[in-house]
């Protein structure tokens, strides 16, 4: 696994595992073959992902965001696979826009988004678009958010399916930390704040490979 700081507008990834520590305002990722990519920083930026034919991308984000508008657009070429895991803790006002367009056949995309409020608002607009005359595509969109303060989380999951031979589903969940989980950790001797922190961090780390990221909150 190598770390890279991207200073150009476009990056080609082929059969490799990389950690992107930073990139410019816009980045176009061209993926070929089997690729793993961890994005460590993503703040007011735009990311375009192009999956070549027969490619398989696992892309992970573990982020602390604040006053941020992030946009991600994904395009699949035939027979490609995407495992998209986006986990963030957010402060102040934030927006995340994800658009996945599938215009070809035999693609498998799973988009998991997890967000934890750390005193702020977040609006998520996630759109999965499966175009007409495509076949044998599978698309899953799962967005979960934990809210702990009085601020707002808005999730707008869109599924625009214009083809028949497709398996598509999406779901969104917003809720506080379960009382049962808090009680359990408190019954082991943790105070409420520490228990909440562990649960929130665990919720985010559950979908990424933690080793490839800096600790949240600059610990």
């Amino acid at each position: 696994m190598h770390k890279i700081k991207v200073e150009q507008k476009s990056l080609d990834l082929k059969e490799e595992e990389v950690i992107i520590t930073s990139f410019l305002n816009d980045l176009k990722l061209n993926v070929e073959g089997r690729v793993y990519c961890a994005i460590q920083k993503f703040q007011n930026q735009t990311l375009e992902i192009y999956l070549a034919k027969n490619s398989h991308l696992t892309i992970e984000f573990l982020l602390d965001v604040e006053n941020s508008k992030n946009e991600i657009t994904i395009f699949n070429q035939e027979n490609s696979q995407l495992d998209f895991h986006y986990a963030c803790q957010f402060k102040n006002t934030n927006e995340l826009i994800i658009h996945n367009q599938i215009q070809t056949d035999h693609n498998r995309n799973a988009l998991l988004v997890r967000a934890v409020e750390n005193g702020g608002n977040l609006s998520i607009l996630a759109t999965g678009e499966i175009k007409k005359d495509t076949k044998d595509n599978a698309y899953l969109e799962e967005i979960k958010a934990i809210t702990t303060y009085d601020d707002q989380i808005k999730i707008k999951p869109n599924l625009l399916v214009d083809a028949n031979a497709v398996l598509a589903s999406h779901n969104a969940t917003i809720g506080p930390i379960s009382d049962e989980s808090l009680f359990y950790l408190e019954s082991k001797g943790l105070d409420r704040l520490t228990a909440s922190r562990l649960i929130k961090e665990g919720f985010l780390k559950g979908i990424v490979n933690e080793e490839n990221f800096d600790p949240l909150g600059g610990e």
Binding site: Y184, K188, G189, L190, T194, I199, E201, G202, G206
Partner: protein, 251 residues
Amino acid sequence: MLQIKNLTVKALDKIILEDFSLELNDGEIHALMGQNGAGKSTIAKVLMRDKNYKVVKGSILLNHEDLLKMDTTEVARLGVFLVGQNPVEIEGVSNAEMLRTTLNDQKKNDLNILEFNKELTHLCEKLEIPSSFIHRDINYNMSGGEKKKNELLHMWMLKPHFLILDEIDSGLDVDALKLVGNSIKEYIEEYHPMVLIITHQKTLLDIVKPDKVHVLNHKKIVQSGDYLLAEKIFKEGFSGASIIDRGSLDA
């Protein structure tokens, strides 16, 4: 020493326990039995200060400290440890992370990590669970038996003085039940905690012999006795056990 006096408890506006009294001396093992829905688990939750259960009357003193003035964390830090019927799964929080954080708090950030890891590895061997459990998320995707062993892993690490075992034997196969029972027995022999066992089964009480057995019915303890009472219940059911009168034993 635990002293519960005339406790009345409500949950969802319904009285679950009424005028419930129980006393455990240091190092004693008590078993609490009763039919389903009698309120046995309620007492476990109340002792652990679960906010869903409101105490409307009575008192609970643990070593002369008022438990009702404490929250769950404070009770746990006094050395009270509850193993529930269905231990909660917490995705993303590993056993090691939780135990390290708790013990670090207890030891004021003076936890020896090498010793900590060594002890965990040794305990995994003892409980016949893979050492990978150390870094697995708490009870997450574990079988019923694995969850109970995982809870015992926590018990051995946290070394509580008062164990509340709420049907720890439910859902265990014969071998797992023996292992769990023997591990609890070994812990009792080593650390001499007070123990409150809530159970429907004989096997656990055969391994961990209680000093006293109580039967809960109609929201309070209606009968108390020694292990013979449990044997009678196992043989004849709760109705058959009514020959033992609580008043005469208390006298």
